[in-house]
């Protein structure tokens, strides 16, 4: 176990460096700079601005300065918001996105596992076909379609849900969490059903049944591991999708999270903000993939190779 963790961490560091460097040069290659605005900036003013942000120095110098600072956690000042540092902005947006993703995953796991287990146990009946069809819908519907639809129905027509915001009105976290989690609930339902089906045919399950244990116990105590494992393996890769999904959901529901910061930074060419968030998201993905691998290893000794 320890070896696994160490090995992964060792790989993580060069990955982060590559990601940072790649992003750095990619963004600098882009036409259009952070200070272009509709009201043209005189060359003087532009020179002064570039001076302040060290953009007049040769590229490799800027690169090394940046990397050196990044190692200490200093991602520089935001280009777009004078007076604010990137780390500060990440720290403001992160808890929000984290909370959103957490609720989404909890919702997805809850709904998905129940649906998947029931479908597996009641295979080839209506309780199998209907949830699986709904699950398919969840996978096939884009988030930016589902979100506004939910708002339309529950927010504007039935008026039981707030239309937007986060932590401003009671219940305003429900619709965003559902919108983000829907696709994952669907995947989890299918994965857990598949896993359960495989397990339910295994010898040790048949033994448990033969021993006279109630069906409920057989399913929930013995077979459930089989249903959980593919889900746990899926959670790691799911984080990358959650990050992407957060862009859409945070925009639709006006949530002040990191995803929205990132998209705006990309469009505004806020170099430092783009770099900081990219590195940060990469670190998150690596971390969650590791967690997912550990969870799988814990539950399934066979996978520890």
């Amino acid at each position: 176990m320890l070896q696994l963790i160490l090995k992964r961490l060792l790989v993580a560091i060069p990955v982060l460096i590559i990601v940072a460097s790649l992003t750095f040069f990619l963004v600098r290659l882009a036409p259009g700079g952070p200070f272009d605005s509709e009201k043209a900036v005189s060359p003087q003013v532009l020179k002064n601005l570039n001076e302040v942000y060290n953009l007049n120095a040769p590229l490799y110098e800027q690169y090394f300065d940046y990397m050196a600072n990044a190692l200490t956690g200093d991602f520089g000042p935001s280009f777009r918001y004078p007076g604010r540092s990137v780390s500060e902005m990440i720290l403001t947006g992160l808890p929000v996105t984290f909370e959103l993703a957490f609720y989404a995953i909890v919702f997805a796991a809850f709904l998905g596992l129940i649906a998947g287990i029931v479908a597996a146990v009641k295979k080839n009946t209506a309780l199998d076909y209907i949830p699986m069809a709904i699950a398919m819908l969840g996978i096939c519907m884009p988030t930016f379609l589902l979100g506004p639809l939910l708002v339309l129905i529950f927010g504007l027509n039935l008026e039981i849900m707030p239309v937007s915001g986060w932590d401003t009105l009671p219940g305003d976290k429900v619709l965003p969490a559902i919108t983000l989690g829907a696709a994952y609930a669907a995947y989890i339902a299918r994965l857990s059903r598949g896993g359960m089906l495989e397990t339910l045919n295994q010898d040790y399950v048949r033994t448990a049944r033969a021993k006279g244990l109630s069906e409920f116990k057989v399913v929930m105590v013995h077979a459930i591991r089989g249903g959980l494992i593919p889900v746990l393996a899926f959670l790691g890769p799911a984080i990358a999708g959650l990050i992407g999904g957060s862009f859409v959901v945070e925009t639709i529901f006006q949530i002040p999270g990191l995803g929205r910061f990132y998209v705006e930074a990309a469009f505004n060419r806020d170099y430092t903000m783009i770099l900081g968030t990219t590195i940060f998201f990469s670190a998150l993905i690596i971390f969650f993939n590791l967690l997912s691998d550990i969870a799988v290893a814990v539950f399934n000794p066979q996978a520890r190779s």
Binding site: V19, L26, P142, L145, G194
Partner: protein, 284 residues
């Protein structure tokens, strides 16, 4: 050896035929592809001509699925949208396929150090926030459809590589391969005649399942304003406009949304059906 593969295929085909859902999905998909290919001949109106005075009207006998706010015929736009969306779906998947399958085959076939290095690279790439890079690429280099193909393909090949490699490894250790090796069949021949036919099934399954992922990714980019450039509109773009007007002109959303979802449904059901047909153990 030939006989064995033949019976494998015909068995699979029979199983597939029995899966009614998959068969229906397959027919719908074929119909869609045909419609998309022949769109320029079928479409009753131009997909870009704006009838400004008409504005958005509901379905009628002239405009079967209504018009959008610029007076453009929705039916024609959906047909042309099919071309774009399906094109993106197939081409980007093809890109992913080529890269992923080659990678997986080489890794799995040669094994050993080559395998572990190649898969290590895959592991590393899994750690990259690809969505972020795609957004960045589209923002920086503009909305070029070729870039779109490459970018999306570059994201999706990883899973393909892993699966193909797994399959190749399993096959390599199976009796018929070991027997062939014992008989002195050379590597290349071994590969083309024994391994490749047996992984084609898996490749087909995962390709079919990747297409909807790609199409969703393109729709996501369109929502952010980064998908294909107008006047080319994919279904993702049409849905985006539909969402904006969904209260006043619901048909702008319902029709593209419906057909997008149905297409993805069919692709997924067909892919599932294929997978069940080729490897029956996975659903029993």
């Amino acid at each position: 050896m030939e006989q064995k593969s033949q019976s494998l295929w015909s068995d699979a085909f029979d199983r597939l035929k029995k899966n009614k859902l998959a068969v229906i999905s397959g027919f719908i998909l074929i119909a869609l592809i045909v419609l998309a290919i022949f769109a320029p001949w079928i479409a009753p109106h131009s997909y870009s001509y704006q009838n400004l005075e008409l504005g958005a009207v509901g379905p009628s006998s002239t405009y079967w699925l209504g018009t959008d706010t610029l007076g453009r015929d929705q039916f024609s736009r959906i047909l042309y949208g099919a071309r774009v969306s399906l094109l993106v779906g197939f081409v980007a998947t093809a890109v992913a396929l080529v890269i992923g399958v080659s990678w997986g085959i080489v890794a799995g076939f040669f094994g050993g150090k080559i395998d572990s290095t190649m898969m290590r690279i895959v592991d590393i790439l899994y750690g990259l926030p690809f969505i972020i890079f795609i957004v960045l690429l589209m923002v920086i280099f503009g909305r070029n459809i070729w870039l779109l193909f490459l970018a999306i393909g570059a994201v999706e090949w990883l899973t393909m590589a892993r699966i193909v490699r797994g399959q190749v490894l399993t096959l390599k250790n199976q009796e018929f391969v070991l027997a062939a090796q014992a008989m002195g069949v050379r590597n290349l021949s071994l590969f083309f005649r024994h391994i490749l036919p047996n992984i084609l099934g898996t490749i087909a399954v995962y390709a079919t399942l990747t297409i909807p992922q790609v199409m969703l990714l393109e729709a996501f980019l369109s929502f952010l304003g980064l998908g294909v450039q107008p006047p080319m509109s994919s279904w993702g773009t049409l849905i985006r406009y539909g969402v904006e007007s969904m209260e006043e002109y619901p048909w702008m959303l319902i029709f593209p949304g419906l057909i997008f979802t149905i297409t993805l449904f069919c692709l997924n059901f067909f892919g599932d059906g294929l997978r069940d047909a080729i490897d029956p153990r996975s659903s029993d």
